[in-house]
Symmetry: C2
């Protein structure tokens, strides 16, 4: 199961009632964070995300609202007991920006920096992988797709028919053969119903609504995309600033056949995103205007 | 008149209900800020401080809780319409730390960096001056004393006796001679009661309670000093971390003959500073445990 949370949903600057956009995912007890603007450590605390679990930090780009919270976050992770290594990955420039910010943040755990070339992938842990897509913003900016492998479905009817004691079910489901008390050896394939597609979450902000996003987000369980404004009248302004409207991101989600869509990275001028959700739902009926702390667990079904 | 506000009063990390310690002073429509940790731009907004007025930023030292909010603050000042130059001053190291943090914060106004040597002073505007004192912390750290000159007291009895029309009072108080309708020339000295001592605010955190602070804060109108913990039992721990107790700072304020004392820079573990104020008042009866947003106007009396 993959738990996904947006502790913050704002863009440009933190507000008293809306933290900057970031995404926290937990899988097998370890966590991945995308982006870290000013105040993200507070947003994480408010959303119940445990910094000591942080394993991987992905940065989309080096605008302050996506990275300025790094020193405080890294220090607080150390104070929360983190001693395991942290991987920080992002577009070219990482090796200049992150050490500069870390000048004021000496941490008690190893930090590995990974500059990702266009389209590069990153291996996480326990079958978690990350792929990247160059977006279209004023500076180099990546979208990310996080995939986690899933175990095949266990079929209890088959297991029962073979007379397998229940305490052995878990071992077989994990892919290991077992030997029964009567001496028979059972292979996992005898009780499993074949492979399941991996779970995947696609995260794309800040960007113009380029067609490549629809390909990148193909069949995603959850697409998290930019909704700077709901009002289509802002299109011209956003073209210049290189951001996306609710309707534009929803159109891409529909083309991608994504299963769910969360909009985020609202302009500080957008007081009530919910007011504009109709613009998105006209393109993608299940679109959700995310709020700080929104959370879902994927793969539990 | 000099307006002084502490938008935040915490140490180490921002909390949901307490911002990091910083000090905002306004004089003649321009503002000076001391320190800028993560979230300080939000603390300023909550306290009603207008970023567009920011003229001078003093940094005490380069621990993240005093400087990590710099990129966001500088960008938001630009967004709030600031175009006038900004002076940023602090201990040696400024020329490395500030440009590193500004890598993610391109701003539309000129920024002048001033590295202050031990004891160096800085000229502000309209008679505002800043002096510095090296404190005793784990890394180089300065205390600051901000002084503003005051106009001599205007004596309305003298003016009335001379038959001066009221609309001319302001010109005379500002130090300019006037000519009356009957042709007499009046010099300012004829209606003023002599010079007044400047107003001064002394700000000392983070530091061990060194005797030099009492000299530096001599007769200050307001001393703002560190109160990491109220409980004297924490002294040993604070000696190691190089911070000060309520009672230690209050003793220095008493020795300095300061007129007022605000304690700040509380440990995140200190939930209710007011609970310990007795420890400070035993040394300095008027001691105040500052809270986020505390404000005073000096020189209005």
């Amino acid at each position: 199961m993959l738990s996904v949370c947006l502790p913050g949903t704002g863009g440009f600057m933190p507000l008293g009632n809306r933290w900057l956009t970031c995404c926290w995912m937990e899988y097998q007890g370890r966590a991945l964070l995308i982006d870290c603007g000013e105040g993200t450590q507070l947003a994480l605390r408010a959303a119940g995300c445990r910094l000591s679990r942080l394993d991987t930090l992905l940065i989309t780009h080096y605008h302050a609202d996506h990275v300025a919270g790094l020193p405080g976050l890294l220090l607080s992770a150390g104070n929360s007991g983190k001693t395991s290594p942290l991987t920080i990955a992002g577009p070219p420039g990482l090796r200049y920006v992150v050490p500069a910010l870390m000048m004021i943040a000496p941490v008690p755990y190893p930090v590995e920096l990974v500059e990702l070339g266009a389209g590069d992938a990153l291996d996480g842990w326990d079958g978690l992988t990350v792929s990247s897509l160059p977006l279209k913003h004023r500076i180099p900016c990546y979208g990310y797709r996080v995939r986690v492998a899933r175990k095949p479905v266990f079929n209890p009817q088959k297991a029962e028919a073979l007379g397998i004691p229940k305490p052995l079910y878990r071992t077989l489901h994990a892919g290991e053969a077992v030997t029964l008390p009567d001496g028979r050896r059972i292979e996992p394939e005898q009780v499993l119903d074949g492979a399941r597609r991996p779970l995947s979450v696609c995260y794309c902000t800040d960007t113009l609504p380029i067609p490549a996003i629809a390909e990148f987000a193909r069949d995603a369980d959850l697409m998290i995309a930019e909704g700077m404004y709901g009002d289509d009248a802002m299109e011209e302004k956003l073209r210049e600033k290189m951001h996306s409207l609710f309707s534009q991101s929803a159109r891409l989600a529909a083309r991608a056949d994504a299963r769910r869509l969360w909009l985020t990275h609202y302009s500080p001028a957008l007081a009530d995103p919910q007011e504009w959700i109709g613009r998105a739902r006209a393109e993608f009926p299940g679109a959700v205007a995310a709020h700080d702390g929104i959370r879902i667990t994927l793969g539990g079904e």
